[in-house]
Amino acid sequence: MNHVIQGMRDTLQRLCQAGASYADVRFYPQQDDETLVVMQGNLKSVERSVTTGIGIRVLYHGAWGFAAASSPDALATVADTALANAHIAAQRLPYPVRLAPRTPVTARYESPCIIDPFSIPLEEKVALLMEVDKQLTHPAVAQRIVYMYATRRHIIFMDSDGAHIEKIIHEIFARMMAIGVEANGMSQERSYELRNKGAGTRGWEAFHDPAYFTGQAPRVVDELQQVLTAEPCPRDTRAVILLPGIMFLQTHEVIGHALELDRILGYELSYAGGSFVKLEDFGTLRYGSDKLTVRADATLPNSPGSFGYDDDGIPCQNYVLIENGILKSAITSRQTILEANDKAGRTIFASSGGCARASGFNRVPLERMTNINIDAGADGTRDDIIANTERGIVMDGARSWSIGSNREQFHFACEIGWLVEDGRITRVVKNPTYGMDTLPFWRALSAVGGERTRELVFVPNCGKGLPSQIMHLGHFVSVCRFDNVPIGT
């Protein structure tokens, strides 16, 4: 590996001599991934993958070129290709890219992990999944699915400014799903994914506390049974109380994505869409009620949205996006903040938010969510919020979601709902849905649960970009209530 690292240094120097104003190299000496899937008590697949590769990004006259190969020995060829690509891109460039200044660092980061999942014997991993499968086994459950995914990425980043960062990132995800069939043949599902309370470490020890995964199976089965015999969600306008199992997605889709600066600047228009947020909105737009404070926090120790340093070499940070309902900042990186400030005619963003992330060696860094969290509120527990609700519905479990192209409106379908009348849960309903325009929805936020209601939900599959990338991140969110929301649409 040392010869590769020396080669990286030499390559960066050569690229600058050839006219690049900036270049970086991300070398993945090894990325290990493992996925286990159990369906109906059968171990359907055990897949282990090993990935090696190198990606080089070059900025030439303000234009990006990138090249990658699964062959680190092809370093010189990859570098030449990246530079040639940048030359081509420079032929059509009305607004040259300028990178915001930063101090290059030499550092090493390893995500906190006590027990490496890859050191656990396969039999033990299978036994854990089979135990969950056994707990999901019930006459009402027609199909049971349990899966686990672990990854360990070794990344070496170097750039032409002298940054040299080595990272070892551990992550683990798991999910269980129970599917049942109503008498009329319609299916219902109830699921649960591995989560935590924000602290702790990210290895196999994540399963030690059954409250965070294995212990949830009986509740999943119980709630599925209730949904199978429930009445449909009425079409109505009510207060909607979202538990973390759907609140994370609400936050993700119409706060997280809406505040990615590259999206706001129009860089995702041809694929993932734009944003209703405009540059002039920062500092003035009332995004939500004064109960809404949202942070981009990449410093949470135990979440996939924390990674030490981003793929521009910027240290991870914790900063406010929305404060007491007012929009303050965005999800940013070095490559867009100067353009945004220029176009706004003022300094909105003083420095990079450290959100440049690439999913692998063969993808360029983009502005991606880290951990997008809602601050705990003062409205007590879930039961306190319910007790203070006259006419509402509690919802949990993300079943489907569809968002407008500028994140301006949304539609969610959940796994389960509980109607609330006069401060008490009255009955379970099935097929609960809700949809609304984004800003009126967040402005209707009327209660935010306290710290005890908060859960950190992991997202293993956020998609964005061309070429597209899947990113891992987290949302640390409380139980929240929104008033006067159309449901049952």
Binding site: M39, N42, L43, K44, V46, E47, R48, S49, V50, T51, T52, A63, G65, F66, A67, A68, S70, S71, P72, A74, T81, A84, N85, A86, I88, A89, R92, P94, Y95, P121, L122, E123, V126, M130, Q143, I179, V181, G185, M186, S187, G266, Y267, L269, S270, Y271, V364, S400, S402, I403, G404, S405, E408, H411, A413, G463, L466, P467, S468, Q469, T489
Partner: protein, 463 residues
């Protein structure tokens, strides 16, 4: 290309020998690719990228137990490939066998499936791409009309083998996918044209230019309107239609998903009318424009597979693992991508210009592209999505208006069950994703499909 083909075949034969020497029964899937993508945003080339990848997947088989190791490395690292075989073997040793028997069969010798490989498309030069883009948007950009999009091109080389015999089957093709978007910087509406190409001669910027120009003519100066929710006559363009077809395959035609209670089509629907009589859908690996596979990842030969014939549901698709689990006959559908085709109709409306002047008794909503489609309810086949990129309201009085985006929430059974008309010309609509390794995919569909009474459930009051 012959050298690459021979090298990959020799490599697989060597891996077969090694696995046998280790007493490991195994299947192999090799994937190599060259991918290039020019990304446009804010009228600039915001990224020009390419990648060369090599990936080996080994699945070791021990009775009914399986273990898989996938390796993405340099193609010359033979020792690491041997290690992958040993890792897969070890996993299979320790994995729990399934309760059902799992199939492994010797491969049938098949001709090389590389008729879809165009050297000129593989070697598409950067200047050719720039020239294409420039020609496609010539005269259409301005300070207010901003260009976004992408031109993706590349080649894949793939091969399958297993230790039961020495047969290696080989597949290679080239593809290109174009999406160009013009958006108004202040008014925020967006127009799109797309093009799919299996060879360089199919890259025709004039067609893209004509479509963008016609849409621009409709949008420029128009006063966009907020529609009212309710049922609409809708005409879907090729890209929207391809997305609906894919959703049908996922939520309807997949046999394993049906057994897992995740589809709107059930076994009792076989042989019954589920869609309009005008609708015939197949998975057709003879359609070159659909980037087809002549065999699946297990080397099972693929042939045209009618899914729906004149509205009648013929058959589910069964990948090998689902067929094994549920005691069905596999149908060659363990493939990285399908080759879905919707048969044409008889309508002479085969161009956007003809659509705009088509006689109509009611208002018709033209939706060329669907954004963020998802399944609200799998077993009822309810999907929800939004319109985007150049929707038009074709009024009954013959005029054309521009609508703000709308949300559709409807059953797939209704979308294909209330078909008013289908164009008689077909075209390829590219549905390739760029997540993971390169997997070209396209649906062959009529240029337009008219549908009665589609439910519009939410209407925007702005773009």
């Amino acid at each position: 290309m012959p050298a690459k083909k021979d090298h990959l075949k020799e490599l697989l034969r060597d891996l077969i020998r090694y696995a046998r020497a280790q007493n490991i029964t195994a299947e192999f899937w090799l994937h190599a690719e060259h991918s290039a993508l020019v990304r446009l945003a804010n009228s600039a080339i915001s990224l020009n990228t390419c990648e060369d990848l090599f990936e080996l997947t080994v699945t070791a088989c021990r009775g009914n137990a399986r273990g898989t190791c996938t390796l993405m490395i340099a193609p010359g690292q033979r020792e690491r490939m041997y290690e992958a075989i040993r890792i897969a073997g070890t996993i299979a040793q320790h994995a729990t066998p399934t309760s059902y028997p799992r199939t492994l069969t010797p491969l049938t010798p098949l001709p090389d499936d590389d008729g879809g490989f165009d050297e000129a498309l593989w070697q598409l030069a950067p200047q050719q791409k720039l020239d294409y883009i420039q020609a496609a948007v010539q005269g259409l950009e301005s300070t207010e009309m901003v260009l976004a999009g992408m031109l993706s091109s590349g080649a894949v080389w793939e091969a399958a083998a297993n230790t039961l015999n020495d047969t290696v089957v080989f597949h290679a093709l080239t593809d290109a996918n174009v999406s160009l978007v013009l958006s108004h910087a202040q008014q925020r509406w967006e127009l799109q044209s797309t093009q799919s190409a299996a060879c360089v001669s199919e890259l025709q910027p004039a067609a893209v230019h004509a479509e963008l120009e016609l849409l621009l003519h409709q949008y420029r100066g128009a006063r966009p309107q907020q529609l009212a929710p309710g049922p609409y006559e809708v005409v879907f363009g090729r890209d929207a239609l391809a997305e609906l077809l894919q959703m049908c395959a996922w939520l309807g035609f997949n046999g394993g998903a049906c057994k897992r209670k995740m589809t709107f089509l059930k076994e009792e629907h076989l042989g019954t009318r589920i869609f309009s009589a005008q609708v015939s859908i197949s998975d057709d690996p003879t359609q070159r424009a659909a980037f087809p596979y002549a065999f699946d990842v297990h080397g099972v030969p693929r042939t045209p597979f009618p899914l729906v014939t004149r509205g009648v549901f013929n058959a589910f698709m069964w990948d090998r693992d689902s067929a094994d689990e549920f005691g069905q006959k596999e149908t060659g559908h363990s493939v990285p991508s399908l080759s879905l085709a919707l048969a044409p109709g008889t309508s002479p409306v085969n161009s956007l210009a003809a659509l705009l002047t088509m006689p109509r008794e009611r208002d018709v909503l033209y939706i060329p592209h669907l954004h963020y489609m998802n399944a609200v309810n799998h077993t009822e086949g309810i999907i929800t999505c939004c319109s985007r990129f150049g929707a038009l309201l074709l009024r009954a009085d013959g005029s054309v208006a521009v609508p703000f985006n709308v949300r559709l929430t409807e059953k797939l059974g209704h979308m294909f069950g209330r078909v008013a008309w289908l164009s008689r010309e077909t075209c390829a609509a590219n549905v390739s994703g760029t997540y993971g390794t390169r997997t070209p995919a396209a649906c062959v569909v009529p240029r337009f499909m008219g549908v009665h009474d589609v439910a519009i459930t939410h209407v925007n009051d702005s773009f």
